[in-house]
């Protein structure tokens, strides 16, 4: 199971890197989304994967899943959701104002309006 997750996370990071290196702003944003998905899965996997056990810490529980990574990725997912939404809005406003979503054309000297 861990091996499978490792491959999945690797593929997510790979795709994210590829997308973030492209010129189109929308692709870059999708790339950041995939990157954070990969990071969340990594966090879950690093906490240890268990099958058939509830995330409870009972006195006599024979086995239990660690609830902490789940709480952590829940927080991280909410944060990355918020940031992605904000990023999309900013990208749209930038597209309206600057007339392009090509990162090559978003360069320039800082002083120039």
């Amino acid at each position: 199971m861990e091996i499978l997750m490792a491959f999945l996370i690797g593929i997510l990071f790979m795709t994210a890197t590829y997308l973030m290196l492209s010129k189109s702003l929308l692709r870059i944003i999708i790339g950041t989304g995939l990157l954070s998905h990969g990071a969340h899965l990594l966090l879950l996997t690093m906490g240890g994967l268990k099958r058939g056990a509830a995330p409870l810490l009972g006195e006599n529980a024979p086995s239990y899943a660690d609830p902490l990574p789940q709480a952590l990725i829940l927080t991280a997912i909410v944060i990355s959701f918020g940031v992605t939404a904000f990023f999309l809005v900013v990208a749209y406003r930038a597209y309206q104002e600057l007339g392009t979503d090509n990162m090559e054309r978003l360069r320039g000297k800082e002083g120039h309006e």
Partner: protein
């Protein structure tokens, strides 16, 4: 009395929420945020006082005891930074009243500034590594809004890059926490330190340490990772720039200091050597930038990078004296960067430009502005009686004592070049033939000068009162030098 620790986070948070309902009423917004700013200063002053008298203050949220629940920890280091943050935030708010403009005030400027303070104070106070990530995100989200608020072309263009860089570094932060959690199985910073010392000298810990250095280095703008900073900080208006320059990078520096003194102090050979090399390179890169530009904003922005290098050099040397120097310099630098950005804001309001070639002779009409600027620049460079001197002296001296000659020499030379870079502003902008500028009659210079003048007075007092302040600062550095103090206070062993 224990609840004192959460007040500097809670007051701005409640204020921010309340202010959202008053966006149409600008006068009410100003009053509410001014009062809450004052309350935050009082609360953080009481906190610092309490910590100084009674030792480290901790608070387990919902009474879940230390390794399990989320703990807030206020040692002297974090209490001092919280106090400085509150003062700077209040100064920037006060300055904003007349300079930020109604359009921004109507669109949630004050609530967002309050949320920024929540994030910064929270990051300084938290004792839980994942909670640090959460407060980082609160702070970054507010900074995204502040940098884009106003929606001019340059702001939109630069904010996209700023957001992108920080989203990637946040993902790296989650990855770093994941690796750390899999190694130690805890998130409480004191507990992590205990577990790491049990594990001892493993390669994986070095990997995690470097990963954390990358994450925090991106926020704190150390050598190879500072590329986003000059562009992004150039875009927003002066009070926002003051908040960013004084607070945001310093949170990264604080996190590096905290993790490198609390967790990763076992295998000093590799990680701290790396940190030292990077900090020296940071100073060099910053100085080159500060000398290369003739734009006032750029010069001061590159000076942020220089200061980050100086502080981290002190941290990497890792002797009690160098840590004291770093804490000294960190607080001085937060104060003086805010002052300089606010003063530059006034120059830009008067002249309408930040290009030095188009400015000259300001001191004839604005002597108060000129001399405040002069004192602030002298303090920045560390001219002896003023505030930058003591910290830098300690950093340099302990650098020489531990035979890190190159680094100490670079720090020493950097003060000279920093002085040169900012004196250029004074000589070219303030001296010379006076010119007429089209905005100068509407500029509320007297009002705007109040906040930076008070901060300059702090800088002077901080310098002259070095003897008086030294015990407080050395208490802070003592906790950094001996992690056991922090661990015992949190885990109550």
């Amino acid at each position: 009395m224990n609840n004192l620790i959460i007040l500097p986070i809670l007051i701005p948070l409640i204020t921010g929420v309340v202010l959202i309902f008053f966006t149409k009423n600008i006068i009410a917004q100003r009053w509410i945020s001014a009062i809450s700013g004052l309350l935050t200063i009082i609360a953080s002053f009481m906190l610092a006082n309490h910590v100084y008298r009674n030792g480290i203050l901790t608070m387990d949220l919902s009474n879940w005891e230390a390794p399990y629940g989320i703990t807030l920890v206020s040692d002297m280091f974090s209490a001092l930074l919280v106090l400085t943050t509150s003062i700077i935030a209040f100064a920037a708010l006060f300055y904003s009243f007349k300079s930020i403009g109604e359009a921004r005030e109507r669109f949630f400027y004050y609530p967002v500034v309050n949320f920024l303070v929540v994030g910064v104070n929270g990051a300084f106070t938290t004792g839980d590594i994942f909670n640090l990530f959460v407060f980082f995100e609160v702070m970054l989200m507010s900074s995204y809004v502040l940098i884009v608020l106003g929606g001019t072309k340059i702001q939109l263009r630069e904010s996209i890059k700023y957001i992108l860089v920080n989203v990637i570094s946040s993902a790296l932060f989650v990855i770093a926490v994941a690796y750390l959690y899999s190694v130690v199985g805890t998130l409480n910073m004191a507990h992590i330190s205990v577990r790491l010392s049990e594990i001892g000298n493993a390669g994986i810990i070095t990997v995690i340490a470097v990963l954390f250095l990358i994450v925090f280095g991106l926020k704190g703008a150390i050598f190879p990772l500072y590329f986003w900073l000059p562009g992004s900080y150039y875009a927003p208006p002066a009070p926002v720039m003051a908040l960013f320059g004084a607070l945001l990078t310093k949170v990264g520096v604080y996190s590096i200091t905290r993790t490198y003194t609390l967790f990763f102090y076992h295998d000093v050979g590799y990680t701290h050597q790396l940190l030292q090399i990077l900090s020296v390179m940071t100073i060099i890169a910053g100085v080159i930038g500060a000398l290369a530009y003739t734009d006032i904003k750029k010069i001061i922005i590159y000076n942020i990078i220089v200061a980050v290098g100086v502080i981290l050099f002190g941290v990497s040397v890792l002797t009690p004296e160098s840590l004291t120097g770093s804490v000294f310099y960190l607080i001085h630098d937060m104060n003086i960067k805010a002052t300089l950005f606010l003063l530059i804001g006034i120059i830009i309001v008067i002249t309408g430009t930040s290009d030095l070639d188009k400015i000259s002779g300001l001191i004839n009409r604005y002597p108060a502005l000129g001399w405040t600027f002069f004192i602030a620049t002298a303090a920045l460079a560390g001219i002896p009686p003023l505030s930058g001197f003591a910290g830098k002296l300690m950093v340099v001296r302990s650098g020489f004592e531990t035979e890190n000659y190159i680094g100490a020499f670079v720090v020493l030379m950097s003060s000279l070049l920093v002085l040169f870079s900012v004196m250029r502003i004074f000589i070219r902008g303030f001296w010379g033939t006076p010119r007429a500028y089209k905005n100068e009659d509407q500029a509320p210079v007297k009002w705007l000068l109040v906040a930076p003048a008070i901060l300059t007075v702090f800088a002077v007092l901080y310098g002259f009162g070095t003897e008086a302040i030294y015990p407080v600062i050395s208490t802070a550095a003592e906790t950094l030098a001996n992690p056991e103090i922090y661990i015992n206070a949190v885990l109550k062993e």
